[in-house]
Symmetry: C2
Subunit: 194 residues, 2 copies
């Protein structure tokens, strides 16, 4: 087995880019790269459930193809305290099933209209599954609050309306390196990096 | 925070000893050591559920005492293929709630009487929880089969009726170092060692 090759259970270009930047000593392949074009139904109740569903689906697919490789699955989202943790596992499809970031942000700002308590955190759950089925999983969080308007031009997900307490600006105003230094994703990755 | 101090969410002497041997560069404290004497009800459906219940309970207790430390919880058991994964999460209390190893082994040998297919594996799930609530978790497995009688004088749990494919003897016949080199627990620990 090539220990430096990791199949990422995702076709989300932003997620792939972030993980490639953080996990730079590994060769990261997306689902497209290995010829997997199905949609994986993420119907779990928690981030952990969904990350396991993705990891296991791709792990089983690799078995059928006799490919021996490590699978990395990521499930992540934004949890807003005043909304009891919403959008949570529905972060990517908050406004609709289309996963439109503009619409999702619009809905969130609308739901927080006139709400003063705007604290929130991003969560990332990773599951790294080995060819023999064993796994390691980790959680990373990053804290901040939801702004009243979009700030910054980087529009990945909720980044431009999430004011980071670590960076004192929104993720949309931060450089890639700044965000990676304190993001939920990098904090989860740092725990399982081998 | 003392990064080298770990509270183990267990009072099981064998488990504590194994983890101390494997995690030797850390100071491992048991629940008794920190003055926690309650029984934690392990009513989860899976090893992962139970490990999280233990980790979270102790994590919350430490918060009330203003102790900042890493918690390590372990849930583990034996899964026998011919018994659809039993005793599984009930491994420690298979015969009764008293957790008597002799009775548990007797019951398992009885239930496998006349059964030829005796393959089994030990599973260990670890949850390491940080003071801020973030966590990392890992699974380790080790494969073998259930013998027809007890072999070896080391009687921790099911060790003397588990013939290890890695060691070509039962865990009850193996030295501590031999067992630690391939055990489910050490394989889980190796994934989250920092």
């Amino acid at each position: 087995m090539n220990d430096k090759k990791i199949i990422l259970a995702s076709n989300n270009a932003h997620k792939i880019e972030e993980i490639k930047d953080i996990f730079s000593e590994y060769e990261i392949l997306s689902l497209k790269d290995i010829g997997f074009f199905e949609d994986i139904e993420e119907n779990g109740k928690t981030f952990l459930d969904n990350a396991f569903i993705k990891a296991k689906t791709v792990h089983d697919y690799l078995k059928t193809k006799n490919i021996e490789a490590i699978v990395l699955a990521d499930d992540s989202g934004l949890c807003v305290d005043a909304l009891n943790g919403e959008p949570g596992v529905f972060s990517a499809r908050y406004a609709s099933n289309h996963g439109d970031s503009v619409e999702n942000r619009k809905k969130l700002l609308h739901n927080l209209k006139n709400i003063k308590e705007r604290t929130a955190h991003f969560v990332c759950i990773l599951v790294k599954m080995y060819p023999n089925g064993e796994w390691v999983s980790a959680e990373g969080k990053t804290f901040g609050e939801i702004t009243k308007e979009e700030l910054g031009d980087k529009s990945f997900g909720y980044d431009c309306i999430f004011y980071s307490y670590d960076l004192n600006k929104t993720f949309g105003q931060a450089t890639k390196d700044e965000k990676n230094s304190i993001s939920h994703r990098s904090r989860a990755l740092s725990k399982i990096k081998l």
